[in-house]
């Protein structure tokens, strides 16, 4: 049992020892009963589900609670702790060495980032609004610069892979047991379909033509239809994963909370 509060002198309020004492003070009720936690979680879940019927006060309460908690967590757990504290404050001020840890140098130039970020607040000023374009421009510029490399890495291998060989090197039907590199007649046909799909769909995404020619119009319509096949496939695969999420929640509500069955 530690009692840092006793060590903390009343006159050094807000010191590290005082703060440690405040947060580390132990209480007897410390462990909330699981049943209570589960009930709170279940009530919140039901509150969100009530949206399916219609928007109501219960949902509105849970929604605002949700946004409040989420934003609070973003402030501490996403922005302050991993980014501003670890990547900005600690490198900027460094730390004094102790008997066991080495001193950390204070890289003071990080300080200039703060005024740059603060410039964004000029967005509300009519007169100096343009100053907010500087931090925003830096973010957008860095994003833009990365896109060239990203395009090379992502799309050129895809294009190379789309150029499929379409003349069979073995005139048979089945290829399941053949060594890799074998291109049977069905493989060749599939490769042709792959290329045709790619080109036909791409033809739908040409904008600078009025699509006067019949061939081009038909190709664009076929492109849309093939796209719909592709989208249908996504719809089917995604549906499966979404249902497994719902089953997980239903398990929580019915088995873990209401105890309507044995816990697997």
């Amino acid at each position: 049992m530690i009692d840092l509060l006793a060590q903390a002198q009343p006159d050094n309020v807000f010191t590290r020892a005082w703060w440690d004492a405040l947060v580390t003070r132990e209480e007897s009720w410390q462990i909330l009963p699981t049943a209570f936690k589960f009930t709170v979680a279940a009530i919140l879940t039901v509150g969100l589900y009530s949206l399916l019927y219609r928007e109501n006060r219960f949902y509105r309460f849970v929604e605002h609670l949700f946004i409040g908690l989420a934003t609070g967590f973003s402030v501490v757990g996403i922005v302050w702790e991993p980014v501003l504290h670890q990547k900005w404050w600690v490198p900027m001020v460094g730390a004094a060495g102790t008997d066991e840890t080495a001193m950390k140098l204070a890289y003071w130039p990080w300080a200039v980032v703060l005024p740059i970020g603060v410039l964004a607040f000029f967005v509300f000023s009519k007169k100096h609004g343009w100053l907010s374009r500087i931090p925003i421009g830096i973010i957008l510029g860095l994003w833009a610069g990365q896109q060239f490399n990203a395009f090379q890495n992502r799309y050129l291998p895809q294009l190379a892979d789309s150029a499929r060989p379409f003349i069979p090197n073995q005139f048979t039907l089945s290829s399941r047991l053949d060594p890799s590199g074998t291109l049977t007649v069905p493989d060749a046909i599939n490769n042709l379909i792959v290329m045709a799909t790619f080109i036909v769909v791409l033809s739908y995404f040409l904008y600078s033509f009025e699509q006067q020619s019949k061939l081009f119009q038909r190709s664009a319509i076929a492109g849309r239809w093939l796209l719909m096949v592709g989208f249908g496939a996504i719809f089917g695969t995604t549906m499966m994963t979404r249902f497994s999420l719902f089953i997980d929640r239903a398990y929580f509500l019915l088995i873990e909370w209401l105890k309507l069955g044995p816990i697997a």
Binding site: V23, Q30, I31, K37, A41, T45, H64, L69, G72, F73, G77, L84, K87, W88, V93, G97, K104, A106, W110, V112, V113, P115, G117, R133, I134, P135, G137, I138, L140, G141, L142, A144, G145, Q147, F148, N149, S174, N190, T197, F198, V201, L202, F205, L226, L227, M228, V229, G230, F231, G232, A233, I234, F235, G236, M239, R242, F243, F246, D248, R249
Partner: protein, 303 residues
Amino acid sequence: MNWLIAQVESPEPGFWGLPHTDAPLLTQGFFWAIVGSLVGMVVVIFFLARVPSNFRRPIAVAFVFLAGMFYVLEWVLPRGKDMSGETVIPFLFGSNYEDAVPVVANLSQIIFGLLLALGILSIFRVHFGRLFRLEKDWFFSFVLLGSMAVMIVFGLMNWSLDQAVAREAITSEQASRTIAAQGFQFVFFDMLQNLDAAMFSLIAFFILSAAYRAFRIKSIEATIMMATALVVLMSFIPIFLAITNWLPADQFVGNFRVDTIGDWILDTINAPALRAIDLGLGLGILAMAIRIMLGLERGVSVD
């Protein structure tokens, strides 16, 4: 004891990295360096705010362009391998350009972090306004602000506990029994994460009603989409697989098994169709990046 001394050996201070010692803050060099750079930036901003309006656009575009050139240079500069086999980009005065990449990545993350404050400001504007004027739904604004405050307080307390554990002031077992840790556990794991999971699982209901609506649309495109969705969905569900499972997989009729058809659609139609749409999006992004870097995008550069 030599190893102990080696372990606590302090790094060599330089111009950019000043030592941090136990001396009072006001006597330390780094503190005044930070204060000095803040004051310097305020002066710079003061003069920037007074720049004649016809120089504003070039200044803003220059920032965008220079920021963009950083990663463009990283992309085009020739690389080599140093003696330890690491990939390096030799740059001016024997420096390694690659060393600057994490610094710049951190820079943009920090600016992003600072800009979240703008969002919080928006939340305060909307909800404190509603609360003070006691408008309709003021109670819910109170709930929002209250839960945000609770999360921030527990989050900070829990964070400082983590720091105490890292300093070995207390053990992690002791830390986990405190009010701060228990409270954070409750608001984060028991409340926030359950809310996330509940909202995510709501999608199952909405996907069903969306599918029902799409099936009712009398258009060729919607029919094609939902028919494919059905086939692919069937290829994942054991009951439907069982219907065609008796067809031998290694013969010609094996092509008509539900799972084979599903796989064929995914590999032969879905993949290239999505590749084509993705290529278009990639070109759109590339064009956007060029326009942003050159300051041609009207929405972003100064008018």
